[in-house]
Subunit: 357 residues, 2 copies
């Protein structure tokens, strides 16, 4: 699978209310040292790490800037070097969702490359459990947290972040705090997937997604609406269904929009759990119905027809987030950013079926 390169978002997409100059824990960073000493970040890094390649004069200027600013690597980063087993925590929302398998493994691989253990836990999509677990991991002295949030208010983490716990949110944004966030382009991916169905002649297209309070579900619905609007198609309420991904709920939603006076000729599914159920519903129909799913699924290429998907790179999400976490611990980041990774349309047959009604 080709790895999409991380793409820093347009400035307008960054969290708007971030006070200018916000930094992790409000401590001086290597960047501050570099600015004061009038040298590059790499030079500061060399001095701090005792690496060669710095002239004595430059080293003196850097040391003066370090003393003037009171710069020190943060506690966690120092701990990483002091012999105690370093560790980072990962909070998922569902241990059984295969989407998180490659993401978790990528987080683990980056952690291991930095000599840190990974400790996981699951919120089971419950904001209270997310908070309980995050604070329990902090109490157990993790050096950083990668969080797939269930909740939308993360101010409870502010004391931990001030105390030096590195924090990156992935898959979904942080709520009410300014933090590093690594997301897929959920809006653009869904828009492209629906536009693909429209390009194959569909106008009555259904959308079945996860609960609308979940960021990814809302963004994918927004992408669906945008594609329909771009094509001048007005969307019937009966074509959209958001809710839990429980197979029974999804099955009923699909059956409802596939019958009635204005049945859909194509379905766009909002995540892999929904896709798997809709594949089963469509397999039982006498007429072909087109399908594009958000998220790739194992064996999708071997079904008949193969399942066309908007694929996220789950491993790249985990890797990008965790690399950023360790850069926070190194003190080499300016401040929180929002990074968006592209999705990829994979055509395999189901999304290229023409309308059959």
């Amino acid at each position: 699978m080709p790895e999409p390169a991380p793409r820093a978002d347009r400035p307008a997409d960054r969290l708007r209310d971030r006070p200018s100059g916000t930094r992790y824990g409000n401590r001086p960073t290597m960047k501050d040292v570099a600015a004061r000493a009038g040298v590059g970040l790499k030079t500061v890094s060399r001095v701090v790490n005792g690496e060669p390649g710095v002239t004595p004069d430059t080293e003196r200027r850097v040391q003066e800037a370090i003393e003037a600013l009171g710069f020190r690597r943060n506690d966690s980063a120092r701990v990483l070097r002091k012999g105690r087993t370093a560790s980072i925590g990962l909070i998922l929302e569902d241990l059984a969702d295969p989407f998180y398998g490659p993401l978790s493994r990528a987080v683990e691989e980056v952690a291991r490359a930095h000599g840190a253990l990974l400790i996981n836990g699951s919120s089971a999509e419950d904001p209270d459990r997310e908070q309980e677990l995050a604070l329990a991991l902090c109490a157990r002295r993790v050096d950083g947290l990668v969080v797939i949030p269930a909740g939308d208010d993360h101010r409870y983490l502010e004391p931990e972040i001030r105390a030096g716990v590195a924090t990156v949110f992935v898959d979904r944004p942080a709520g009410r705090i300014d933090a590093d966030v690594v997301l897929s382009d959920n809006f653009g991916g869904a828009r492209d997937g629906v536009a693909h169905l429209i390009a194959h002649g569909h106008r009555r297209i259904g959308f079945i997604g996860d609960m609308p309070r979940i960021h990814t579900a809302a963004e994918r619905l927004r992408g669906y609406r945008a594609a329909m609007e771009d094509a001048g198609i007005s969307v019937a309420d009966s074509w959209m269904s958001l809710g839990v991904t429980d197979p029974e709920r999804v099955r009923r939603a699909a059956e409802a929009m596939l019958t009635g006076p204005e049945p859909v000729t194509a379905v766009f599914t909002g995540n892999n759990r929904v896709t798997v159920t809709v594949i089963r519903v469509l397999a039982g129909l006498p007429r072909p119905v087109a399908l594009v799913g958000f998220d790739d699924i194992e064996l999708a290429d071997l079904l008949q027809p193969g399942v066309t998907v908007v694929a996220q790179d789950a491993a790249a999400l985990g890797r990008t987030a965790t690399e950023r976490l360790f850069r926070q611990l190194d003190g080499t980041l300016l401040g929180p950013e929002r990074i968006e990774l592209p999705t990829r349309l994979v055509t395999r047959g189901s999304g290229e079926l023409p309308p059959s009604v």
Copy 2:
């Protein structure tokens, strides 16, 4: 999916060298109290927990036995009641293997039902990392560990177990210590799956499995050999291939046994990772080749033909192990046991194809 009931193994299958009377951490248990007081376990439990239904005379006898033996609930169990967030650890061997998804979620659900947080980690199939992670979790004060072991020597856990950390091994047995173990019937499941292929007329049957040092891989190979021997079929070396589950290795193994002077007409695959690759190889062949896979896989029923599997109940493995862990913490178990859960043959088409060569 029907839930197979846990089935305690035949005594001969228990670890042979367990000294008689071995108990968790060698502390007196509720069972000892019950024996000394001449009452049932449930009565002791009622007294210890202050529940009604015990006559004053019986209560006095139980209290005397408790004092005489120095019985106390172990530290971890008391901690569970004292307000600190209780937690248990789960050590997997691969975060990205979908088999562990339902297992992990079941562990989490039982933990939650007992008011405990679950903290996960992965050994990435490396015995050193397993040990590092297990000890790191113990250092972080988990009350118990559910371990899917990568290594075969777990004596490093003895001090932790003596200190009161509950420990249950699942999916694979513990090595060189006497511990609770919850396994699937890997031998019987594989034997039944291969016998199913033989019953459909196959004699040249290939086996592709995981590395032979892994308990489950060795047991499933043993089941394959037993079924072949039962049918009076002598197995050619070229029909068996064990090694890493990397798709390239599996693909080459499958292609080798499907060609040559004695090509196999059916393949038995030793786990879900192998099955997925072999499905792809078989899909590219001009002639049908029968397939039975160990482990169920998502969408197996929608492929053509549907994939016949020997299904483990991953959730039941996780649930049974974790319930046993909390019974250790309660002090209500006699000593380590080995519990084996049955597998289930699910026929869907691929295992019922006749030999085509």
